[in-house]
Symmetry: C2
């Protein structure tokens, strides 16, 4: 099957350790909504992924957010967080985005319920940000006590055995229904902490503090939580919304290049499948994003969260529309995988949608 007009090519590296190269930036004359286009793997050039023809929503997004920033970037004050609202009735919550937000203690503290907090993080993030988060929770707020549980880092630990460590700690610390769980880390931590919060005493409050781009623009927003089963990913979990999502873009300074690349691919997804104007903006600002420009990142994250928030508001439990976002994870690994892998994942995700397995 030949690909039609408006084809985009993403050059891919098959070296899993390679850093994001300029080849990763989409080349496009004008922004369009596009879709994967290939009937058999034999038609795909192993070094390039072809995309064409619209499948996503074509309308301009208008999420329940603060007014859209000027697309030129740079007028933003780092001290004032951008706020995107996820509109879910009595489960609505804000996403705060900006630089230095972990130093604005009142932001976090106003979403803490009760006097006991459990921070769930991992061995990579704890040395970097745990003390900062504990400060943010307790400064000027002496009545709050903070416990923590530090899990091993990595997708392979996203299982029931690791989850039980969170319950163990919560119960040993005598936390009650009025406590708050805080997820500090990437997508694995957010998913596990969220599910633990959903299931501990049949549900306690929780807050997301995502520290990777992937988690900031996707997994921390929308309440999909869970763990893996030996036979499949994310097969056990809950739809459970946080009290707020706090995205301090300063945490990106410590993010490895590979993680950054994966997250950027997730950002590109929103332009590809449902937001042409954002895609155009990405074309103009990709170099700033690659250089980790905080204002550019704040805007990219905000716009991504607006897209995600809108989809979640329309289809919280993934009965249809939200499943289209699962495609994005395919692109989330574009920079570090070869086309065969991508094709397999895309096919697998189609199967997931067909069979009702949302990841």
């Amino acid at each position: 099957m030949a690909c039609a007009t408006n084809a985009i090519s993403l050059s891919l590296s098959s070296n899993p350790n390679s850093k994001l190269s300029s080849d990763f930036i989409p080349k496009l004359n004008r922004p369009v909504n596009v879709s994967l286009c290939a009937s058999t793997s034999a038609e795909l050039d192993p070094g390039r992924l072809f995309l064409s023809r619209p499948i996503g929503l074509s309308r301009r997004i208008c999420a329940n957010a603060t007014p859209v920033m000027d697309q030129s970037v740079g007028e933003r004050s780092s001290s004032v967080p951008t706020i995107v609202e996820v509109d879910l009735g009595n489960r609505s919550y804000p996403i705060y985005i900006g630089s230095g937000l972990l130093d604005q203690h009142e932001l976090l503290q106003k979403h803490v319920h009760g006097k006991k907090v459990l921070v769930v993080t991992n061995t990579t993030i704890a040395p970097l940000y745990l003390d900062k988060v504990v400060d943010a929770l307790t400064k000027g707020n002496p009545n709050v006590s903070v416990e923590n549980v530090i899990l091993p880092d990595g997708e392979k630990y996203k299982n029931m055995e690791t989850l039980m460590k969170v319950f163990d700690k919560a119960i040993e610390s005598r936390l009650d229904r009025r406590c708050t769980f805080v997820a500090l880390g990437g997508g694995v931590i957010g998913d596990m902490c969220g599910f633990a919060a959903a299931a501990f005493l049949r549900g306690v409050n929780f807050i997301q503090i995502p520290t990777t781009v992937m988690a900031q623009v996707d997994s921390s927003v929308g309440g999909k939580t869970g763990i893996n089963h030996p036979l499949g990913k994310n097969l056990i979990g809950a739809f459970y919304q946080p009290q707020c999502v706090l995205i301090d873009t300063d945490t990106l300074s410590t993010l490895p290049d590979r993680e950054l690349a994966s997250g950027l691919a997730e950002v590109i997804k929103y332009g590809l499948i449902r937001d042409a104007e954002f895609f155009e903006w990405q074309e103009k600002n990709m170099e700033k994003l690659m250089a980790r420009d905080p204002d550019a990142f704040a805007y990219a994250i905000k716009r991504s969260c607006e897209n995600k928030a809108e989809v979640v508001s329309l289809d919280e439990k993934e009965s249809g529309l939200r499943a289209t976002l699962n495609l994005g994870h395919t692109f989330g690994h574009v920079s570090n995988r070869n086309w065969v892998w991508i094709w397999r994942v895309a096919t697998w995700r189609s199967c997931c949608s067909w069979h009702g397995y949302g990841c």
Copy 2:
């Protein structure tokens, strides 16, 4: 602290193997709402539990149910189920109560979603009712396939290890989001199957078919699901409502006396803490209940479910009112335990309510 007027005495046996005796029947001149009354264990007669003074709701219940039966019992047709509605907005569901309901296949089938069903039961109940339930699900409905998982019987198996067997079976059977889980058994099975349904693929439909009085009048209604943690009961779970509860009173014919007694104590609770008229009815009909009269039981279960449904409708997630029902579990073991045990449980439950642990 002296107990005031309207004291009720429940004679207790310390022999865990004793059958329900007539001593178990409350003696009361007129129905009242009452509460536990004792300041120290030293004031309690080890053979008798004193109750006095109203704490529960004093108003007559008027749940969202079919018209209240005539209290004389006996006008009921066993072929027409009594229906009690649990009013929870878009999570509302019916409780069907009656004799021979498992032979009315359409009752069950109209609440099955999708074409795959997983029946979760245990080694005691499976030989008695599994085939009957499979028939009820599949007769005249050839498109539905039914899998089952048979768990070991007993509270000690209400843990994560056993729960994983349900997930294993669901995943091996390639169940998708459109499947239905069916809980066939007592409270342990209902709680575990309900939590498995809440967490499998972040939530699938489920149906409760409780086979003990305790489960029929309490644990199957209201959506409290969960498992135990080595450090405490029901600490991991979810509020998750079923599609329907189907109570076939014929299943009580195989219920051991001890289980029947525990369940009757749960029934008495509703009279004690919030329904004086029902308490009066119990006084008049206790002998019929002891003799397992199906019409008397259908009425007692209906009235209990009405009480439970009303409380659940007002306070689904146990933020206050619903916690008063936890007291009932204390009485649920009256017939087989001594007063020291009851006092400990009552104290423990008070602590649970205080600390936010609902059981």
